[in-house]
């Protein structure tokens, strides 16, 4: 049964392989700076805050993982360069909470709207996990799917082993399982974009509805893969893990925290071609912590990263506050 279903899926997808992938518009990056070319002395990089005494969200125009929007039945996320058409008469049940301390985002949660005429009930959850902050020894979508599959709770049964498939030019890893006692079925498809693992989690009581929704993913628009080594990225900054380490940092100033709070402060930064910090995104931080870190980061200087001999922008992650805790020692090779 399992093999037949996989084959069926692959055959159906084969029809859509020729669909052109949608290239990401990179012109949006220049919008981030309010005064485009002035440097650090007078302009702090824009800081995008999440935590605090009240829930808050970003209010700048920079493209961010949590900045997706839903219009006319289409979910668009400029940061990830993806565009997903909702199933007919489905709607956004809720936008996600602010990003977590360990870099997890809920991009959107979809469920049948009041005009949905079908009887099948379910949900579609789209998440993104920042791979720089994941407290697990996994470094990409393939490893995360295998980890999840091998840690399934006993009340689930595997329906389909993990397989790799392509939607457009984008590689996905997918597997499915169900819960006999509740008769609910899940299929998960994961892919890597800008050093995040983006997951589509389809859940439905009706396996047929589930299957047809997964097949509809072929109509998704995804970032064009521009060069080898980019993790599903478009022509944006190169994402590099732990770039802010060792010899890459020419000048470094430690943040001075007013109060030591012990919460992790995960931060993503974009470094410009000259080696200065161009954008700071706080996934989770208190206001006083963002001030301290921003003040420090504006004085950091990085060695530019070269590709084909030319400096390019780099996106990387730094964890201030607590050091991360990892479940077990990192493994060397990807699990297949």
């Amino acid at each position: 049964m399992n093999d037949m279903t996989v084959l069926r899926l692959l055959v159906s997808l084969a029809v859509f392989i020729s669909l052109p992938a949608w290239g990401q518009n990179t012109g949006s990056w220049s919008v981030v700076q309010s005064s485009p070319s002035s440097k650090v002395e007078t302009n702090l990089p824009p800081t995008l805050l999440v935590k605090g005494a009240w829930p808050s969200a970003t209010d700048l125009t920079a493209a961010l993982p949590e900045g997706g929007s839903l219009t006319a039945g289409v979910y668009t996320n400029q940061y990830f360069g993806l565009s997903y058409t909702l199933p007919t008469d489905w709607a956004q049940k809720s936008a996600g909470p602010p990003p977590s301390d360990s870099g997890e985002y809920v991009l959107t949660l979809l469920s049948p709207s009041d005009t949905y005429k079908g009887t099948a009930r379910g949900s579609i959850l789209v998440t993104a996990q920042d791979l720089f902050f994941i407290p697990l020894p996994v470094s990409n979508a393939v490893e995360l799917i295998h980890y999840t599959k091998s840690h399934l709770q006993p009340y689930y049964q595997l329906e389909r082993e993990p397989v790799e498939l392509k939607i457009g030019a984008q590689s996905f890893t997918s597997f499915s399982y169900w819960s006999p006692v509740t008769d609910l079925h899940w299929q998960v498809l994961a892919t890597d974009i800008r050093c995040h693992t983006v997951q589509f989690v389809f859940m439905n009581r009706d396996p047929k509805t589930l299957e047809s929704q997964v097949l509809e993913m072929n109509k998704m628009k995804l970032p064009a893969q521009s060069s080898p080594g980019d993790v599903g990225g478009a022509a944006g900054p190169v994402c590099l893990k732990d770039y802010a380490n060792g010899e890459n940092v020419i000048e470094r100033v430690d943040p001075v925290f007013v109060e030591h709070k012990y919460n992790p402060v995960p931060v993503r930064i974009i470094i410009d071609q000259g080696g200065s910090v161009k954008q700071i995104h706080f996934l989770s931080a208190f206001p006083d912590q963002t001030k301290a870190v921003t003040t420090a980061l504006q004085r950091w200087k990085f060695r530019p990263y070269l590709r084909d001999g030319k400096p390019v922008e780099v996106e990387t992650g730094i964890l201030f506050g607590r050091t991360p805790y990892v479940a077990i020692a990192p493994q060397s090779a990807a699990v297949k």
């Binding site: 605090g52 959850l125 030591h260």
Partner: protein, 545 residues
């Protein structure tokens, strides 16, 4: 596009499989075969008219099994002296405090109530908010009776958010109110409901209650209900590594759940007590409550506490409201002279201060006993089979991702019953982002929208749910985990204020939304002969805890 989860569920009721008459033919669950659902169109029409009536209902407080909480650890006697310390702590927990002239002095000048066990009483001493009409019929909200019972004089008025049938509540103002307007300066402290003004043991102290009506009108007030303290010793003794390993185990879950911990500022370790997991230990929990809720200074919190705005305005408390007990500060101290008696342990137990003995009482309370074999409530009977299905469904739909069924304790120096034992607490002790449930109060490293996963042990005999007791029905409580509107703070009176400073927010949702959506995807009830779990099974399971 509708986002109100309540309306969503009622549309569910209308759309298919109406009240009690679902006929679903299920080809057996062992193979993956299409499931055929039959819905009667007649019942569809009927239930549309019924509107918000659901087929699935909260069974209500479990009553047939007796009261299943409030007893000490079963083998407490194995530790010599521990039973005496437990008994002494319980007695002190039940003492009525006065301002001066008695044996338990120091109450006030501001307080919420004068007796720990009055607020912490459902279904037994150590619990939560009682009600006169629900098992075991303990009584009306004690805060609503303070004038009648002579605890305060009629210099006080009962705030509108305290009702006889409602929950015991403390009130906080998320932001400082200045000149009749809400500022952006965080407040978040407890504004005690009542004052000692006019009491015969309160001398000339004359202060007024906070202006709750103004705060309600400005939409700058939130509430907290008492947390039950059953099983506190287990929670105290769960190791850091256990919590961290449990946290890591759920990374990559398919419910969008990603919590964190509240790290205490003293030593950076994980704190676990309170609605935001802001308190590290039972001792801290006891000391804070004694001073904040009852105004009794102690060896952990030695100074009388002005109202948050008395502090902001640098006025502090008036001089004739200080040291009302007359014996100086702190008002609760170690007793250098033990009470005499023939039992050496009972004598020993009289020496520590009240807060130490409160902590000992809480620490030695056993975890509530779940009843998986079935039970009855005032309205229905629930079978073991339903409970079992519900328990599995609770995990499958994602609730158990935050409400972790059990965690193991570390070795214990107190008693064998706490030593490497399993606590069936149904909580990961993490703080999670709860969207519009946000109360805009930061505590420790918990932000305004983050709350500790409330332990569900004992929930079967609780009456009020969520941090402010807004739900008295489990189904509503579940739906409220994915609240619809931004900054919706219920029971705010006629609040038409701008609620400014409460954060523009983005309408960011709660981490629980996927699990709630999945829960709502279940059938409402389980047809007889079916083995597929329903929402009703989950409710039945919860009331078995």
């Amino acid at each position: 596009m509708k986002t109100d989860s309540r309306q969503y569920v009622s549309r569910e009721a209308g759309r298919c499989c109406a009240a009690g008459k679902a006929t679903e033919l299920l080809l057996h669950a062992k193979t993956i075969l299409p499931r055929i659902v039959k819905c009667s169109s007649l019942f569809f029409a009927v239930s549309m008219l019924v509107g918000m009536a659901f087929a699935q209902t909260d069974p209500g407080v479990r009553s047939s099994t007796g009261v299943n909480a409030g007893t000490p650890l079963p083998d407490l006697a194995a530790t010599a002296g521990a039973p005496e310390f437990f008994a002494n702590g319980q007695t002190r927990f039940e003492q009525v405090e006065v301002v001066s002239g008695g044996t338990n002095n120091g109450l006030g000048p501001r307080f919420n109530l004068n007796q720990c066990s009055a607020c912490h009483s459902q279904p037994a001493v150590g619990g939560s908010s009682p009600n006169a009409n629900q098992y075991p019929f303990i009584g009306a909200n004690p805060e609503s009776q303070v004038i009648k019972d002579g605890i305060v004089t009629n210099s006080n008025t009962i705030p509108s958010f305290i009702t006889a049938a409602g929950p015991v509540r403390e009130a906080r103002f998320p932001f400082v109110i200045s000149n009749g307007a809400v500022t952006t300066t965080p407040d978040g402290g407890v504004h005690d409901l009542f004052t000692v003004t006019g009491r015969s043991d309160a001398g000339n102290c004359s202060i007024s209650q906070p202006n709750f009506t103004q705060a309600e009108n400005l939409n700058d007030i939130i509430f907290r209900i008492p947390t039950p303290v059953f099983g506190a010793g287990f929670i105290e003794n769960i190791g850091e590594d256990t919590l961290i390993k449990n946290h890591n185990a759920i990374v990559g879950n398919n419910f969008g759940v990603s919590g964190t911990f509240n790290y205490n500022g003293n030593d950076g370790t994980i704190s676990r007590f309170g609605w935001k997991a802001q308190n590290k230990s039972t001792l801290l929990f006891a000391g804070e409550a004694y001073n904040v809720e009852m105004g009794i200074t102690n060896e952990l919190f030695q100074n009388e506490r002005p109202n948050p705005d008395e502090e902001q305005n640098f006025t502090g408390l008036p001089g004739d409201c200080l040291n009302l007990a007359g014996s100086g500060y702190p008002e609760d101290t170690t007793n250098f002279k033990a009470t005499s008696g023939s039992n050496q342990f009972a004598t020993n137990a009289s020496i520590p201060s009240d807060i130490v003995m409160f902590a000992m009482f809480m620490r030695f309370l056993d975890q509530p006993a779940a009843q998986p074999n079935g039970y009855s409530t005032a309205t229905t009977t629930v079978t073991a089979a339903s409970i079992s299905r519900g328990q599995t469904a609770f995990g499958s739909v994602g609730c158990a991702t935050c409400h972790t069924p059990s965690l193991n304790t570390d070795p214990s120096s107190f008693n064998e019953d706490l030593n490497k034992k399993t606590a069936n607490l149904y909580s990961d002790l993490e703080i999670h982002r709860m969207g519009a449930l946000a109360d805009n109060v930061s505590q420790g490293t918990a932000g305004g929208d983050q709350f500790r996963t409330a332990p569900l042990w004992g929930v079967g005999q609780r009456i009020f749910f969520l941090h402010d007791g807004r739900a008295s029905d489990l189904l509503t409580a579940i739906q409220d985990h994915c609240p619809s509107s931004v900054n919706s703070i219920p029971n705010q009176g006629t609040g038409s204020g701008s609620g400014s400073g409460a954060g523009s927010g983005s309408g960011a949702a709660s981490e629980a939304c996927t699990a709630v959506t999945n829960f709502e995807a279940l059938a409402q009830t389980t047809a007889s002969g079916s083995t597929v779990a329903s929402q009703q099974d989950v409710l039945n399971f919860l009331r078995s805890l």
